[in-house]
Subunit: 321 residues, 2 copies
């Protein structure tokens, strides 16, 4: 095992499987920094990426074998519903390679990896970046700059593997947030998956009212429904893979809305929810616009480093390398 | 009665009562275009507006008497909870003046006007513009450019009065949307007031999860909770004054969220809501980003002009003067 270190190695070679918004942006972000190559199922995407000067292929087995030959970190970057085949190819052609992913749920991905490739060296990840657009044409090498990038940090996570995955995030300009898979899934259910359902419900009610309503719609509707414009298949793959955590926060949201409906009907008041919502938004703004609070006093590889990283990240701190 | 006309007169003198975000921005937008003066309860705001070169006062009675002397249109621009006293002053000092407002509900304002000043020449209005900031320091003379400005259009609305109120909206760069008061209130319940409650509930659930969750929060949470940052007193005044219409759309939203919770729990699927939400968002985008569809074939003042304007506006058309 390599000596513990607080500063990550450069990522070395990176192989990106799937060149949609996230995978394609990652390929472009790393180009010039690391030897990076990729695969995509669609020939049209491969041709578009090649036309932009990138080293990509539509041959999965050949791409994964090349990852084995070059000791590349393999990044799974397709929707969760299509991961199984990719992981099976890795198990067959590059069983010893370090594997990570950029998928928006972590427990479901781990179950797929464990089923297809029980011996995988796997450290999951999730960059908190995206737009409501998708596909190669929406990719942006600057997509991850300033974004939070969760890196799976379990009790059994290997320090050198963790540092290498973290170095990919840092190389794109992102900031690393260590978390356990289940804590991550609960967090993103609350701050990403629930907002998709709230946006959809808001959009449906507005559009069901009248053309007049959509004509009058301004900032609150525009911003509050933006993510409802994301491709439905991508939203479904993301939300349905996190069903248990999403059910919890969805029930909470329904409870809050039911409470305010009762308050409004019985007392003509929205005071409690509006007041709580305002305080919650200010708490978010304080974290989002304040300076990054670095995780401190722990060296990756020390005894118990995983638990200490998670503990500090749970309070909102980040790992800056 | 003046001859019917399709093109509005210039607004003439305008008196703005209340110099917060909307009233203050209106004063600034009209300055240079129309003789405009204003009133605000707070001496600090009056001093700030004077320092910016505006003709404003903290003396309500004197300001309203000046409006009577100059035949100014009087614009009510304070929260609905504080309108009564303003309307009483108008009834006392300028009973013959044309009166309008910029408040986000129309039936509640009409009730207050009728109670305090039964003989008022009143044509309500509502510019669909705002930010989550408030007060004179947040005002912006360009706030209304490109915005939709609803102008109350009832069966008894006087054509010349309607045209003069519409001309104020046009002078700020806004586009006029004619509507009945009740249709307006249902529309804004759906596309403005409901989004405030959805934003608040989303913010509360996110902030209740963990510091990790707020740290990971990205675009969907930021945009989906933005309006929860509006001053709670302003949100309450706006939402509670539209309680009947808001209760209807809130119940609809709760029903949709309850349906998707059942689908997710029983079938692991969010397909229906996500699909409907996506179509609804595209319908909104088509209206919001498409060219303005002008109301055509009707002259303000013709027999039945009010009904014809409302009919076309209900389908999303606008009045361009």
């Amino acid at each position: 095992m390599p000596a513990p270190s607080t500063s990550p190695a450069l990522p070395g070679a990176v192989c990106v499987l799937g060149l949609g918004l996230i995978g394609g942006s990652l390929l472009r972000a790393l180009a010039g920094t690391a030897p990076v190559f990729g695969w995509n199922r669609s020939e049209a995407t491969v041709e578009a990426a090649r036309a932009n000067g990138h080293d990509v292929s539509a041959d999965l087995a050949a791409t994964v074998r090349r990852a084995a030959d070059t000791d590349a970190v393999i990044v799974l970057a397709t929707p969760v519903t299509t991961l199984s085949g990719l992981v099976a190819a890795v198990a067959e052609h590059a069983p010893g390679n370090l594997l990570t992913d950029v998928v928006s749920v972590k427990e479901a991905v781990r179950r797929i990896v464990t089923a297809q490739h029980p011996a995988a060296r796997f450290v999951g990840g999730h960059p908190m970046a995206g737009t409501s657009h998708s596909g190669w044409s929406a990719t942006d090498p600057e997509l991850f700059r300033g974004a939070m990038w969760m890196v799976s940090t379990g009790d059994g996570t290997d320090a050198a593997d963790w540092l290498r995955v973290a170095s990919i995030a840092l190389a794109t300009g992102a900031t690393v947030v260590p978390a356990a898979d289940d804590a991550h899934d609960r967090a993103v259910a609350a701050i990403s998956h629930l907002p998709h359902l709230m946006a959809a419900a808001t959009a449906v009610v507005g559009a069901g009212e009248s053309g007049l309503a959509l004509r009058l719609a301004a900032g609150s509707f525009r911003d509050g429904t933006r993510v409802a414009g994301t491709a439905p298949a991508l939203q479904r793959a993301m939300l349905e893979a996190n069903d248990a955590a999403l059910l919890n926060v969805l029930s909470e949201a329904i409870d809050r809305l039911t409470d305010v409906r009762d308050d409004l009907r019985d007392r003509g008041s929205v005071e409690i929810l509006v007041g709580d919502g305002h305080r919650a938004r200010l708490a978010y703004e304080a974290i989002a616009s304040g300076p990054l609070q670095p995780i401190s006093g722990v060296t990756v590889g020390d005894h118990g480093w995983q638990e200490e990283l998670r503990r500090q990240a749970h309070a909102g701190r980040v790992w800056l390398g």
